[in-house]
């Protein structure tokens, strides 16, 4: 067992993240939030981070703790609106002009991240054409239809949540838990996965949802 990506604590797993880091965080629709890693990141408290996360503040996610701790300089997301009438942690900072926002279509969000991990520096998409999203972006006509040019997105650190891991870093996911996890893992320099359980045996090949070649560290959630 030469390759062993298991780490004891969430704190250890993110100990070397630096100020200014671009951090990708998985989770969507209530599933797949690496909340123990997010809390460890808050405790580690790197400054001026850029977060790449679907929802700026989601009620099942702890990203609001990073925001409230004043650690986030910029948010790249697809949803920055809270549900209730009360403004969210993000909305308060944003209205106060204390945080930069890049709110983009969800398919463009995930495709830009995939591109970042797949060696595609830029691609054309029809999504956002004729809307605010297209402002300032290059347009191009291809076969009688107009498209806008979007660029790859990648980061320094990806925090993702899965169901199980093995010591090779292979991950399995449950139901709709995977969402942005796999693409984010392809697009970050350091990839840390929080899982329900780290297994002693390798995950069978047909249960691997993301190969361990993309994962640097795995940590078992405490609960």
């Amino acid at each position: 067992m030469s390759i062993d990506k298991r780490v004891n604590t969430a704190a250890d797993a993110i100990a070397d993240v630096r100020d200014g880091a671009v951090v990708l965080i998985s989770g969507f629709g209530g599933a797949g939030f690496p909340n123990e890693l997010i809390r460890a990141l808050r405790d580690r408290a790197p400054k001026d981070m850029t977060l790449v996360v679907n929802s700026a503040t989601h009620r099942y996610s702890l990203t609001h703790e990073l925001l409230e701790a004043g650690l986030v300089r910029k948010m790249i997301c697809t949803t920055a609106r809270g549900r209730g009438k009360e403004p969210t942690a993000f909305e308060r900072l944003w209205m106060a002009g204390k945080i930069e926002l890049e709110c983009i279509p969800q398919g463009t969000f995930t495709e830009r991240i995939r591109a970042g991990g797949a060696g595609i520096p830029a691609f054309y998409t029809p999504v956002g054409l004729g809307t605010e999203i297209a402002q300032g972006k290059e347009m191009r006509r291809i076969k009688d239809r107009d498209y806008i040019l979007e660029y790859a997105l990648s980061g320094d650190l990806a925090l993702i949540r899965a169901d199980t891991a093995d010591h090779y870093g292979n991950l399995s996911f449950r139901y709709a838990q995977m969402n942005f996890g796999p693409v984010m893992a392809t697009a970050a320099t350091l990839v840390v996965a929080e899982v329900r359980a780290v297994l002693d045996e390798p995950i069978p090949h047909d249960r691997v949802g993301l190969s361990g070649v993309y994962v640097d560290r795995v940590v078992e959630a405490s609960k």
Binding site: F28, G29, G30, A31, G32, A56, H58, R59, Y60, T78, T79, A80, R81, G82, P87, T88, F90, E91, W94, M95, L101, C103, I104, P105, Q106, G107, T108, T110, E111, I113, R114, T125, P126, V127, G128, L129, G130, T131, E132, I133, D163, F173, R174, Y175, A176, Q177, M178, N179, F180, G181, P182, V183
Partner: protein
């Protein structure tokens, strides 16, 4: 008897009646989600959700709730037989690639050329919410809109041009409101159905966009469906 507008669930019921066998459908937040409850039982339909569910089933009963089995709106759901899951890159490849037969979306405004505004009401103190709306609107094979015909203040939502930020251009193919069912055609809006007791002029009074009426324009009806006492 004064004309009786459809309620939200009746609008969803009416849209559900146009779903045909084997369709792959995406349902937006709000009114569209209710469409699933009214798809005719003989129809075999797959509901896709942006978070990677292919084949969303009914809401999970309390004893079957699983926090990993959710739809894009964070509802705890079930999976229908034959359903499966993909990651977000596959989910949006499916959407952007034109594999969704119908996206059923809520809207603030629809223009007579099919332009859609449904993502940003410019509310004070609230951030923007795009989510999957732009992908769905721009790329689904058909886009059906479900909305009240006019705003709470009585202003029309079917316009010559949208005033709110656009979601996508020329995308809406059909609109279901509490008053009418309207196709968006190359020649503008064509009323297919209208509730009983409403005149063409009544509808035009509530609509900024020019309206044509189909020669076979029918009465828009729906069974009685009670609204739950839901917090909005």
């Amino acid at each position: 008897m004064s004309p009786q507008p459809l309620n939200r669930l009746q609008i969803a019921w009416r849209a559900a009646n146009d779903i045909t066998d084997g369709m792959l459908v995406n349902l937006g937040l709000g009114m569209p989600v209710a469409v699933a409850d009214y798809v005719r039982p003989e129809m075999d339909v797959f509901i896709q959700s942006e978070n990677g569910v292919i084949g969303v089933g009914p809401a999970a009963p309390p004893d079957q709730v699983d926090s990993d089995l959710v739809d894009a709106g964070s509802r705890r759901v079930t999976l229908r037989p034959g359903g499966s899951f993909v990651d977000s890159s596959w989910s949006f490849a499916m959407i952007r690639g034109g594999h969704i037969d119908v996206a059923i979306l809520g809207a603030f405004e629809v223009a007579s050329n099919g332009d859609l505004a449904n993502w940003d009401m410019r509310l004070p103190n609230k951030g923007p919410l795009i989510g999957g709306a732009m992908d769905l609107a721009a790329c689904a094979r058909s886009v059906w809109v479900l909305m009240e015909h006019v705003t709470r203040q009585g202003a029309p939502r079917l316009l010559n041009r949208c005033t709110l930020p656009l979601t996508a251009l020329h995308c809406v193919t059909r609109v279901y409101t509490d008053l009418a069912v309207i196709d968006v055609t190359a020649d503008g809006m064509l009323v297919r159905e209208m509730i009983d007791g409403l005149s063409a002029q009544d509808l035009r009074d509530r609509t900024e966009a020019p309206l044509n009426f189909a020669p076979d324009c029918r009465t828009l009806t729906a069974p009685a469906i009670a609204l739950p006492d839901e917090p909005r």
